[in-house]
Symmetry: C2
Subunit: 419 residues, 2 copies
Amino acid sequence: MKNKPKRNVIVGQSGGPTAAINSSLAGVYRTAIDRGYQKVYGMLHGVQGLLEGRYIDLSDHIKTKLDEELLKRTPSAYLGSCRFKLPGISEDRAVYEQIFNILNDLEIDCFIYIGGNDSMDTIKKLSDYAIVTGSEIRFVGCPKTVDNDLALTDHTPGYGSAAKYIGTSVKEVIRDGWSLETAKGQVLIIEIMGRNAGWLTGASALAKGEDCDGPDAIYLPEIPFDVDAFVEKCRALLKKKRSVVITVSEGIHTEDGTYISDMGNSASYVDAFGHKQLTGTARYLCNVISERIGCKTRAIELSSLQRAASHCASRVDILEAYEVGGAAMKAADEGESGKMVVIERTSDDPYQSGTEVKDVHRIANDERLVPREWITEDGTYVTNRFISYVRPLIQGDVAAIMVDGIPRHLFVPGYQELL
Amino acid sequence: MKNKPKRNVIVGQSGGPTAAINSSLAGVYRTAIDRGYQKVYGMLHGVQGLLEGRYIDLSDHIKTKLDEELLKRTPSAYLGSCRFKLPGISEDRAVYEQIFNILNDLEIDCFIYIGGNDSMDTIKKLSDYAIVTGSEIRFVGCPKTVDNDLALTDHTPGYGSAAKYIGTSVKEVIRDGWSLETAKGQVLIIEIMGRNAGWLTGASALAKGEDCDGPDAIYLPEIPFDVDAFVEKCRALLKKKRSVVITVSEGIHTEDGTYISDMGNSASYVDAFGHKQLTGTARYLCNVISERIGCKTRAIELSSLQRAASHCASRVDILEAYEVGGAAMKAADEGESGKMVVIERTSDDPYQSGTEVKDVHRIANDERLVPREWITEDGTYVTNRFISYVRPLIQGDVAAIMVDGIPRHLFVPGYQELL
């Protein structure tokens, strides 16, 4: 393999977008070009788009170093995303044959997939199929997820920027509450992403500092949620302060597994992986507080704002995302397959990290939750250990490239219509 | 008056907080000190707190130039806000006597009130009472409101920063939608503040540029809202694109005055001025789209995030807010009373502005709406004239003072308990 001329690379993005996933794409592209590959294709909407023959030549999009910098600062998945679940090899060989035919037609040597748990499942299956069929194409996964729930890696690119945005916005909203004059007090509930893992919701504790108390309580999905205890907590807090701010994960549920969001009448939507789209947890709890305590309430859902907030990205995160993209490309170039790049933290203070390559079979579909001992005993806050874990990941800024007062993103005319 | 030694100043904040209202406070403080006043008091929670004898000496809070810079970057009303409506002088003289007794005890020469329409009403009544009773205390208003609905001024401090945040966040969320792969498409509805005036919602058009289409439709409260026409608009848009993003004002209502937010089952709350607190417009419309079109929907309310987003403040806005605070203090120092400072735009391109002083009787309780000709004929977008009005107000950034990865705000230990 070493003596064959290098041919082409294809890269895709999958799962929920983040503020850092395009920095990984830039890292893959730069390393592929630097290592002498001819073309770097981008599959549009991941494997799903690839199956429909939809892809671009990334050199039509990244023409200058400035374009590369813009790409690092562009939120969302530049290539479009998908939630396509590959069937098992024994279930449907035809789809694998189709994918490999396309890859062979494009003369692909390396296939890089940037995504979360579901994407690593795709890497696992495709690399297995390559072994079974004797294909020399290498398949390497590059981690991303705002949820930070990927196993084996210290953390995932995308999480740090979302955590920085959450810490910043929650702090601003807490301060906003200080201005309030209301005799009965107000309970503000902020709903944060994270279906089963409370990493993002826990990051709201970053608001806490010398100049801010932080949220008054933090409810993660790792701990069963008790509505009555929650109401009593609010009641007690309102005796001490006028403006109570509480952060909750979208995925909090009671001991018996009932999602709080399902207790209201929220519309629900199930994706291709059978994941339920959750909405309305904060609003439901506001209604409960309003009825039982009678004070003013306000619900805020950070919704897709939190994963798209490139304007508030963490420098550590954007750089690590770039490095991880580069490391995935390097691993594939050096003959690795069925692997995922992970981030290894070598020191907390000063923060130091590096990348490693791990077997994707050990990773796929494992959800990493917040350790029980990083949550306080009563289950309503995160501990200092949690804070010292996340704090290094939000350091530094990535100055947006401002045009007319608004951050500029990478864009090629007509591209949106292709997506 | 000129030969009397200068005594003290008191300043208050009222109404909904903004990202710039504390920059005006810093401007008042700096100018008062520079002009030789002894003490600058801050009333806590405006006139309401003053009546309860709650105030601070601002020099205990702003001890250094760094503190002043931090104050300019601190969102919310540093002094706390209120929505206290002064009765007419003939209705309740006692409350006026009480206020003037407090002011006289504190040896106040100048009373500066930073706020919106309701606050200017307070300035008007207090200055009238001063004339009636021969008091030499001067009362000057300093404009602020994210809503930008104050009459006689070209725009109000606070609006530019909120507009910049809205343009930035809407652009990020639109881009987030590009990543989406869904056969039926998605309609995302973003709800923006503005009860009767569409200035903030219109600012979502700032997302539009060479790299972004901007929102697909913009609904302001100035134009009666037709639910059926809205559904048809969405249906037509979904034929052209996968991800439809629409911005709506919280205050949109039908021809007969029914608020869209009231069509759902949202909790409603009426403040001291009889203003209804609106929630749930976007969510209600999502439910309608979901039922009638059957596609995926997502509702985002920018809620208090949009008025508290100091991390995304506009430099023009923060500097103008500071200037306006200084100009209010200067006017009061020079003997003006019953006046409000306004911003006069002298040029659009290059943008130039200055301050003037106007009679508060001409201003109070007048709401300035978006002119009909700045909205497209079909009522679903703003025109270029609107954009060229708002664009200069979002220019430039105010670098946050970052500590541990999160913006630092001004804070004095124990202060929160006083508020």
